[in-house]
């Protein structure tokens, strides 16, 4: 398991760090750490924890307390290092020193936020990387006691205000994510978190034994931004979503209600519903007859989750690992983006054994403790949030209906024609940027180059004279898929280069790729390009598109190893492919 708490032991992790063995092909991420505290141990732990996820971190550590220098100097080693991510770790100790020296306390929070915003902007102007900004741990000493927050110029009130403003400002800053170190410290207990001795002796920001947890928390943000996060929660029913066994106890016999265990189960359902609201897909896998399993969803007055909250509902007597495989096939997302919640240790072990990539948390016996057990593992990071998240569950439910329809048609062409697909090819717009950046982060399998452009980089593409960035949106008679593909073309001398190409796997085999390639070549012909070129950069997950260009008649021009395989095809040799869909908008 990726997130087992016991494996965050300081010395065990140090030892593990000495024997990291990643394959040559492991994904490499360049990370800069800028901090006003010591970061050596943190860097070691980040590398070790990243290796557990198959990621090789290459780390640049900025000088001690040199955050501003590194960011503001365009010739700094930071920019020479060219990171994909930069962690900016600021401590409350340094903040307090500045505050105690400040002549005007009333301006301090505003000045601090202005300074940090200035750093974000300066960084965004010089780098397309994502900046991960820490929050400040609230001080434990309070000169005012409980009056602290009532006194606007107290240290506690000012630090709290700065944290609040960091959050507000980060909502507007496209290149910035937050690492909520104060939340982490508060969860452990701020007095337990702090070790003033270590600060005074070695400028270490917290107790040494909590450094691994700090590294894990920072890494969680980074991994989510790079595409590794939970997309689907698979829920068991009996004794997981309600108490008792529906098949034996009946509708009025299961525990679900306003007190005791019944209230605990309602609590878990509410949290699951919140996850669904923010875009996590919910699925059910239960050993039950379907009619029994569905009954509480339709009729129990205390059920929070209803049938339409569940994207895939599987109730049968098959092996749960096989059922999860089936769900994985329907949803087309990696096993490592699944979390499986089941009260039964036997079922948990089966899934762990057969599907080792699925995250299977241990659940305590008392359902009152389910939520905290899950919370400890921090399984639900995300690096984006957009309107598309609200309707994702509906989209996947529609997908399941399409699968059923598919079975009724003989030929694929008949089937595709029956869908009444409508496609929209639109240029990037500021309205779409959050969803574009999100799709770029989420797509792993159908992703030719895996460039992971952030929102700021996408915005820059909109204004680049040689770039043609566009998106595809698809709908059909069952519903709207929304924005499902991101493609960036670049004028490159006599060539038209495909610089970025990714697509949501949900829309595979519907002819969208054909439509897109036809559109690319007709654009190439229109601007007088001689060839269209593309590149396949292999990752651990994108083998499915290894020969993507080949299927359209491209030929390999050069194999450049980790930089990928270059493909090219003359514009006048391209044969348009079949795409059975109505074109509602075409902006290239």
């Amino acid at each position: 398991m990726r997130y087992e708490a016991a494996t965050l032991d300081y010395f065990a992790l140090l030892k593990e760090g000495k024997t990291i063995a990643l394959p040559e092909s492991a994904r490499t991420i360049r990370l800069a750490i800028l901090a006003d505290c010591a970061t050596q141990q943190l860097g070691t732990f980040l590398k070790t924890l990243a290796a557990r996820n198959g990621v090789r971190l290459e780390i640049y550590e900025g000088g001690y307390d040199a955050i501003d220098l590194d960011i503001l100097n365009p010739a700094s080693d930071l920019y020479a290092f060219d990171p994909a991510y930069v962690i900016v770790l600021m401590t409350e100790e340094k903040l307090k020193s500045r505050l105690y020296e400040a002549a005007d306390r009333s301006a301090f929070a505003g000045d601090t936020i202005a300074r940090i915003r200035g750093l974000w902007q300066a960084f965004a102007e010089r780098s397309g990387a994502t900046l991960i900004q820490s929050t400040f741990v609230l001080p434990t000493e309070r000169a005012f006691g409980n009056y602290e927050l009532k006194a606007a110029d107290s240290v506690g009130a000012i630090v709290a205000e700065i944290n609040h403003q960091l959050a507000v400002q980060s909502r507007e800053a496209k290149n910035v994510l937050l690492a909520d170190v104060d939340f982490l410290a508060a969860g452990i207990g701020r007095l337990q978190w702090r070790d003033p001795r270590m600060w005074n002796m070695a400028k270490i920001p917290c107790r040494l034994d909590h450094l691994p947890a700090l590294a894990q928390s920072l890494l969680d943000v980074l991994l989510a931004a790079s595409g590794l996060f939970t997309k689907c929660v698979v829920l068991d029913l009996d004794n997981t979503l309600w108490g008792g066994v529906i098949g034996d106890d009946g509708l009025d016999g299961i525990q679900l209600g306003e007190f005791d265990e019944g209230e605990a189960f309602v609590g878990l359902q509410k949290f699951a519903k919140e996850l669904k609201r923010r875009g996590v897909i919910l699925a059910v896998v239960s050993k039950n007859d379907h009619a029994n399993a569905i009954l509480p969803f339709a009729e129990h007055p205390y059920m929070v989750l209803r049938e339409d909250d569940i994207s895939v509902f599987v109730a049968n007597w098959e092996n749960k690992a096989d059922n999860i495989r089936l769900i994985q096939k329907t949803l087309n997302i990696g096993f490592d983006s699944f979390v499986f919640l089941d009260d039964n240790p036997f079922e948990r072990n089966i899934v762990r054994t057969y599907l080792p990539d699925v995250i299977v948390p241990e659940l305590p016996e008392d359902p009152s403790l389910y939520i905290d057990a899950i919370a400890r593992l921090n399984l639900f990071e995300t690096a984006s949030y957009s309107k598309a998240d609200l309707s994702r569950a509906d989209q996947y439910r529609e997908e399941a209906q399409r699968e059923l329809t598919k079975a009724r048609y003989g030929s694929i062409t008949d089937y595709l024609a029956s869908l009444d697909m409508e496609i929209r090819l639109e240029r990037f717009s500021s309205f779409n940027l959050p969803r574009i950046a999100q799709l770029i982060q989420r797509s792993n399998q159908f992703n030719l180059m895996t460039r992971r452009y952030g929102e700021a980089a996408c915005e820059a593409l909109m204004h680049a004279p040689d770039a043609v960035p566009f998106t595809l949106k698809l709908g059909d008679k069952f519903g709207d898929y929304g924005l499902i593909s991101v493609i960036v073309l670049k004028h490159d001398g006599d060539d038209l280069a495909i610089d970025e190409y990714l697509m949501s796997c949900r829309v595979l085999q519907r002819g969208v790729e054909n439509f897109a390639m036809n559109a690319i070549f007709s654009y190439a012909a229109r601007i007088g390009a001689k060839r269209v070129t593309g590149r396949y950069i292999p990752t651990a997950k994108n083998a499915m598109v290894k020969n993507f260009f080949g299927t359209f008649g491209f030929e390999i021009e050069a194999d450049e190893g980790t930089a990928g395989v270059r493909w090219a095809l003359d514009v006048d040799r391209y044969e348009p492919r079949e795409a059975i869909m109505t074109v509602a908008v075409n902006e290239i």
Binding site: Y10, F11, L14, K15, K18, Q40, Q41, R197, M198, N200, M201, A202, I204, L208, D209
Partner: protein, 81 residues
């Protein structure tokens, strides 16, 4: 806890921290005598000793220790309190 018992347990901690399974400690040993004993591993060593013996050093304790013998004495004193 006797000085010998402390040294025995301390040897294991040193071997772990300095990543040398054959390391032997002596009273006169200082950071100069051990490969990889730098300011960073020093901090690790302090944590290892604190966890291993269930004690907490003060900054003064840490700064006063000049060799392993003095570390053993400091541990014995903390354990006695």
């Amino acid at each position: 806890m006797t000085a010998d018992a402390i040294k025995h347990q301390l040897t294991d901690i040193f071997r772990d921290v300095f990543n040398d399974p054959t390391l032997e400690i002596t009273d006169e040993m200082t950071a100069d005598d051990v490969d990889g004993w730098d300011s960073l591993t020093h901090i690790n060593m302090i944590l290892g000793v604190e966890q291993g013996f269930g004690i907490r050093f003060s900054i003064k304790d840490v700064r006063a220790m000049r060799n392993v013998g003095e570390l053993v004495q400091a541990i014995a004193k903390k354990r006695a309190n």
